[in-house]
């Protein structure tokens, strides 16, 4: 008969108390596992979103974190606007000229190449306008390049797919500049399909409606990024909406000698023309130069500007993780470890309280030849058994809870939580942690067993 069986029988002998102690330990460990899973989920989510497929975001001078938050996560308010002319500075000469001729309006040096075009060579720049809402969802005014050029996923290598329909066109024969593509969560929550229309609210979810209907031509397949919860409209249509054109001279372009360029290609007759240069503003520009070195040069160059700044979203997200998210994760983790400590104390109390009843049993074992260290080991084993059973049950409960909540989590984050994939390397410390806690919890009752006087307790 081995000591483990003796410890097991002791546990069975105090069935209810043992079960309650196991449950207490299980709840503590389940909490730790759940917090670790949530931490994994948060980190995974941030990792996915930080790889947005661009190296830099250019925006108006202000907080780089705020710029990242509102451009990538669609959180917080946009800082200020950038003149559209800044966007043109990232384009090579031919593209810039073609763009100026397509849009028309007042611009300086219409024939030159963008000043950052050499550094940008081989890369891309995507203009972004924010500020309007569709229901509770943010509206992003951009170009079709957003879904053509950007990639997502941990390695930034997944192309955007459309669950239904297609990308919007720069100028559609049917809908002009008023085509839209919506994230799959927007489609589901707003009950919209391809072919439906919607209008934008100005400034906030309860803001005044713009009246202009946008035609949904595509629904983006789930990505697990904030883009699932955004509506994307053609930038040209967005700029044409009421109150979206530049009302005052942007100081950033003051001092330039402007040339009035007539648009080359007239718009589809049944729709209004594009908002001309000189009246166009942007919230941000997403940049991906062809090399990392180019990104560094661009960041430095843009940051020399008086009105614009460039920031690396990955860097900002890392800062946010380190300064805001991680401390909360660690605090939660510390709390759950305290819960485990309380569970360990409950093991101590449970076994210690039973020591009076079992002094006779200990004395009998000693009379049968068990050494003091053997009876001590039996008590420690019992403590260990309770903790390990509780730990195993808690570990399973924690992962099971994540698995059960998986559809909800996937809805919100696009991340699939399997039974075992939401694990953290910290979970590896659970087993030794439980063993140490159980040993500490068992040591006092074990010492009581060690000191039990045989002759006094043999009736």
């Amino acid at each position: 008969m081995n000591l483990l069986l003796i410890a097991w029988r002791n546990m069975q002998q105090r069935g209810l108390a043992s079960v309650l102690t196991v449950v207490s330990m299980a709840l503590g460990v389940a909490l730790v596992v759940m917090v670790l899973s949530i931490s994994w989920l948060v980190t995974e989510s941030f990792d996915r979103n930080s790889n947005v497929g661009c190296n830099l975001i250019v925006g108006s001078k202000g907080s780089p974190l705020q710029l990242t938050l509102n451009t990538i996560y669609y959180l917080s308010r946009p800082i200020e606007v950038l003149p559209y002319e800044d966007y043109l500075e990232f384009l090579p000469g031919d593209e810039r000229q073609a763009m100026i001729k397509k849009i028309g309006g007042k611009i300086w040096d219409p024939d030159k190449a963008g000043i950052h075009s050499t550094t940008m060579k081989g890369g891309f720049a995507i203009p972004v306008c924010l500020g309007d809402y569709y229901g509770q969802f943010r509206v992003v005014g951009t170009t079709s390049m957003f879904f053509e050029k950007l990639r997502y996923g941990n390695q930034s290598d997944i192309e955007y797919r459309f669950a239904e329909g297609r990308n919007f066109l720069d100028e559609s024969p049917e809908h002009g500049f008023y085509e839209a593509v919506i994230g799959w969560q927007v489609a589901r929550e707003m009950g919209k399909r391809v072919g439906d229309t919607f209008q934008l609210n100005h400034g906030d979810p309860e803001g005044e409606g713009h009246g202009q209907q946008f035609h949904i031509v595509g629904i983006v397949a789930p990505t697990g990024t904030p883009n699932d919860r955004a509506a994307f409209v053609n930038l040209e249509g967005f700029l044409l909406l009421d109150k979206h054109s530049r009302a005052f001279e942007n100081p950033a372009i003051a001092g330039h000698a402007l040339v009035d360029v007539q648009p080359d290609v007239p718009s589809t007759p049944k729709f209004a023309g594009r908002l001309p240069l000189g009246k166009r503003d942007l919230t941000a520009i997403l940049l991906k130069p062809s090399s990392g070195f180019g990104a560094m040069r661009l960041e430095m160059a843009v940051n020399k500007s008086a009105h614009a700044m460039a920031t690396s979203p990955i860097q900002q997200i890392a800062i946010m993780l380190d300064f805001f998210v991680r401390p909360v994760q660690y605090a939660l983790l510390a709390l759950t470890f305290l819960v485990c400590l309380v569970s360990a104390v409950s093991i101590l109390v449970s076994i210690y309280n039973s020591m009076n009843e079992r002094r006779r049993d200990i004395a009998v074992m000693r009379a049968l030849g068990a050494r003091r260290d053997i009876v001590m080991a039996v008590i420690l084993l019992e403590s260990l058994l309770i903790a390990l059973l509780g730990g195993a049950a808690g570990w399973l409960m924690g992962h099971l809870a994540g698995f059960i909540a998986s559809p909800l989590v996937e809805d919100r984050t696009g991340i699939r939580v399997g039974l075992l994939n939401a694990t953290s390397s910290l979970e590896l410390t659970l087993l030794p942690g439980i063993v140490v806690l159980a040993t500490l919890a068992g040591i006092i009752p074990a010492l009581v067993a060690y000191r039990t006087d045989v002759s006094k307790n043999l009736s």
Binding site: R366, A367, G369, A370, R371, S455, L458, S459
Partner: protein, 226 residues
């Protein structure tokens, strides 16, 4: 096989004085010999058994069991001797309530050096007539059955000496005789020496050697123990 010489044991009283309980100049029990020890309550019988078993340490004197001087051994050494050479039957059986009859018997061979011989545990329980109660817990057995399990447990480690402390005191007369017969038969079969404490003259008269504590214990004669 068991040789006691000048064995003395006293306890400290709350007032600080010492009360002599045992003073046994000499006691010898041969291999396989069955001896009954009688004496008044409080005479030191259980203390004597505890000293022989190494549960309690004598103040002075010698206890030799199978040529091993127990008084010179460390506590762990005495534990080892107890686990391998001694069997103990208690007045109140002292079975572990959470264990089955078979497990209680196996417990008797757990702490010694020998193998955990499950077949012997089965065999012993069959011999004490409990072959059909192997997996019953003590609470599901009668008092007589419980004591039979205790006898099987005491013999599980193939002891050289069996100490029995009033093994029939809590048992009805019919079962008393069965237990005595069982103890004597099994000890004879296995050539185990037995030192049995009893108050019962009926039990004592069945043994060829009966020792009275008053005659072997000088301490009892000289002072009234508590």
């Amino acid at each position: 096989m068991l040789q006691l010489e000048n064995l003395k044991k006293s306890f400290r009283l709350p007032e600080g004085q010492r009360l002599a309980v045992l003073d046994v100049p000499s006691l010898f029990i041969g291999a396989g010999e069955q001896v009954v020890l009688m004496g008044e309550s409080g005479g030191g019988k259980t203390t004597l058994l505890h000293c022989i078993a190494g549960i309690m340490q004598a103040d002075s004197g010698s206890i030799r069991l199978d040529n091993i001087e127990l008084t010179r051994l460390s506590e762990a050494g005495r534990d080892r001797v107890r686990a391998s050479k001694l069997g103990y039957v208690f007045q109140t059986f002292n079975l572990l309530a959470g264990f089955t009859a078979l497990e209680n018997v196996r417990l008797g061979m757990t702490f010694g050096n020998g193998k955990h011989d499950i077949a012997r545990a089965h065999d012993l329980l069959n011999r004490v007539g409990l072959g059909d109660r192997l997996h019953h817990k003590p609470s599901a057995m009668s008092v007589g059955q419980q004591q039979r399990v205790a006898v099987a447990r005491a013999l599980a480690n193939r002891p050289r000496l069996l100490l029995a402390d009033e093994p029939t005191a809590n048992i009805d007369p019919t079962n008393q005789q069965k237990i005595i017969d069982l103890l004597r038969d099994v000890c004879t079969e296995e050539n185990v020496a037995m030192l049995m404490v009893t108050h019962s003259p009926t039990v004592a008269e069945q043994f060829s050697r009966v020792e009275r504590l008053e005659s072997i214990n000088v301490a009892w004669r000289e002072s009234a123990p508590i």
